[in-house]
């Protein structure tokens, strides 16, 4: 792996700015939750909670683009995070010389529009809105982001578990080795709606949903910038016992320094991961416990925090990225 993280951006339940996210994690801020009301069907009688991105984007954070007028909240999270990543790298679009790639990582995608469109179909099947359907496709936000940034080359969308971000990083490296790009923006994002929040509550009643976006601007190694010094491929597991074994193997390969895990704060869900990393001697941070489960954005947010800590604390930062089907570990450090 031969990549540096040149810039990062984050939009989370803590706020629209990357610093909001970093501060909330380091101070372990208690972010309030809410209960999303259903927009279709019978009223829910059980509790499920979400920490949503607050309010609208600050006026100067999003570019003025007609593509953003009707775009989903997820698109706006992505664009805001991406603009901050570029800004934090000290680079403008012009600086990137048309050689910027874009990899979007999602788990659920534009669920607000998907649910709205399908709900319309059930109630008024002869009149579903043609404006909504195109915004439901997984790569619609990437298309809007590409238009905002003027990226007309390498753009792709990967879907999967949150740690599919690992494949995005390998894709960025692959495109650079093929000399197709010089920099790559990886954007991992998720938006919440009532259906997804309810879905999470089926996994565990105490799981709190969240939303947002993480952006990483990757490039060839640059002195003074955090570098990805280790990244395991996604190791697949099928049975719980295999998962536990893989997690322990990954934990045994970790470095010293700081650990950023994927824990949610729900003991039953976290047990395999906490067990695997129980011997970790250094500092440990759990952005998921502060924000809630931001699904497709969650691993990206781990990387944003890791990049910040690698720079500010000058220690290697290990990322634990467990998944239901595959798991991985990465190490980021200032070199």
């Amino acid at each position: 792996m031969n990549l540096s993280i040149l810039g990062t951006g984050a939009v989370t339940a803590a706020g629209w700015l990357t610093q909001d996210f970093i501060t909330a994690c380091l101070q372990r801020t208690m972010i309030p939750t809410s209960e999303p009301a259903r927009t279709a069907g019978k009223t829910r009688t059980w509790t499920c909670r979400v920490r949503g991105v607050p309010g609208a984007a600050p006026a100067d954070l999003l570019p003025k683009s007609p593509r953003l007028r009707r775009a989903s909240p997820l698109t706006k999270f992505e664009v805001a995070a991406a603009m901050q990543a570029l800004s934090s790298a000290g680079l403008s679009i012009a600086d990137l010389g048309g050689r910027l790639g874009l990899v979007q990582v999602l788990q659920n995608g534009c669920v607000q529009y998907s649910v709205r469109f399908f709900a319309e179909l059930q109630v008024q099947p002869e009149l579903p809105s043609p404006l909504i359907f195109p915004e439901t496709v997984f790569n619609a936000p990437a298309s809007h982001l590409a238009q905002c940034l003027g990226v007309n080359g390498m753009v792709t969308t990967l879907i999967g578990e949150p740690n599919h971000l690992v494949e995005a990083v390998f894709t960025a490296q692959q495109w650079m080795e093929e000399d197709l790009i010089d920099h790559c923006l990886i954007v991992a994002s998720e938006e919440m709606d009532w259906m997804t929040v309810e879905a999470l509550s089926y996994y565990h009643p105490d799981l709190i949903a969240s939303e947002g976006a993480a952006a990483l601007l990757l490039g060839r190694p640059v002195a003074g910038k955090p570098r990805i010094t280790a990244l395991s491929p996604l190791l697949t597991h099928h049975l719980p016992i295999d998962r536990q074994r893989v997690l322990r193997e990954l934990a045994s390969s970790g470095s010293t320094g700081t650990l950023i895990d994927h824990c949610s704060g729900v003991a039953a869900i976290d047990r395999p991961e906490t067990s695997a990393w129980s011997g970790w001697p250094g500092d440990r941070w759990s952005p998921g416990m502060v924000l809630g489960d931001a699904l497709g954005a969650s691993c990206g947010l781990q990387w944003v925090l890791a990049s910040h800590l690698a720079t500010s604390q000058q220690v290697p930062v290990t990322l634990s990225m467990p998944g239901a089907n595959a798991s991985s570990v990465a190490v980021i450090q200032q070199v």
């Binding site: 019978k42 969308t157 692959q174």
Partner: protein
Amino acid sequence: MGIMSPLGMDWQENEASLRANRTAFRPVTLFDVSHRIAKTAASIDLPDDTLFPKLGRKASFVDRGTTMLMHSIRECLQQAKMTDLDGIDALVIGTSAGAMPLGEEYFRQAVASETKVRGQLRRVDSYMPHRQMALITEEFGWQGPITLISNACASGANAIGHALGMIRTGRAKRVLAGGYDALADLVYSGFDSLKVLAPSGMPRPFDAARDGLAIGEGASVMLIESEEAAAERRSDALACLCSYATATDLHHLTQPDPAGSAAVTTMTNACRIAGIEPDQIGYINSHGTGTPHNDVAEANAITQWAGAAAAGIPVSSTKSAMGHLLGGAGAVEASICLMALLGQWLPGSLNVREADPAVTFDLVREFRPAKLTHALTNSFGFGGTNATLILRTLEGGGA
């Protein structure tokens, strides 16, 4: 290579249908289309095979699209004389809708009840495409990495191209790559709401009076390996995957740039990487959906890219026979190019009465034998993803 489409359950059946200029459109019965403008699609009658014998109870979680993908994987492995996925370094699959019907059912169950509903955890878990892929890998006991690409209607082509890049950069020696999509109410209704489905039920790509596309479903995968990996297995390669190029059309979320500029870029770059000129392309399997906007943009792009050579380049759209397979289209159409190269024939662009004035190429209107060494396939998707793949015969030489 393995393929399952509305034209057949495997390579042999698909080739027979293409040779016979068969079309596969019929009334939709999987869901209610009584309120839709269009009423037809190209669907598959799934055989009642035991595709997942090792999964036991979990086999009931397998979605329709995953079933199609598994069919094509099994055919591909059989042709490659492999019994399972051992020796394969990666699985790269494109899809646009994944297991959408499971998501639709989750929604219906959710809104009908104010309390939690039995079975919803299984539905929401199985609805996710990566969980569906995990069922396939669990059946084979395989533990390699899976990459799921979702770039709308270019997904299948993107997956094959991504696999080529993995091999060229040494990240993998052997990759199983392809794409799939199955019919789904939300997706069908979505296209219908945009008024892009042919009310006639018959897509007629490049016809001057074409009135839209028809949705299909299916899957195809290819085993792509480096020459060294093929030699290691002493395997007989079928063809060479020469090149892949992709670009992004920023014109509009759903409409292509009328000049087809991104398509010009991908065709130009794919030829450059393959080390050939446009006049060496013996066949183009076009994206050719049958919509007014796509076909004229693509025709303009072919003219601009090939220049004077366009008149001699045979082009057809097999969507005229099997419909638009969405995330599966790019992979299925690349496989049709493979079949055409091996059989030395060209599939037809069916039901054309009068070619659109933008057509400057040799529009192949029905099956014909041909001599060709290179075949090119285009795939364009919502969001502006454009992808071009070039395949050649083993004797064709070059990249």
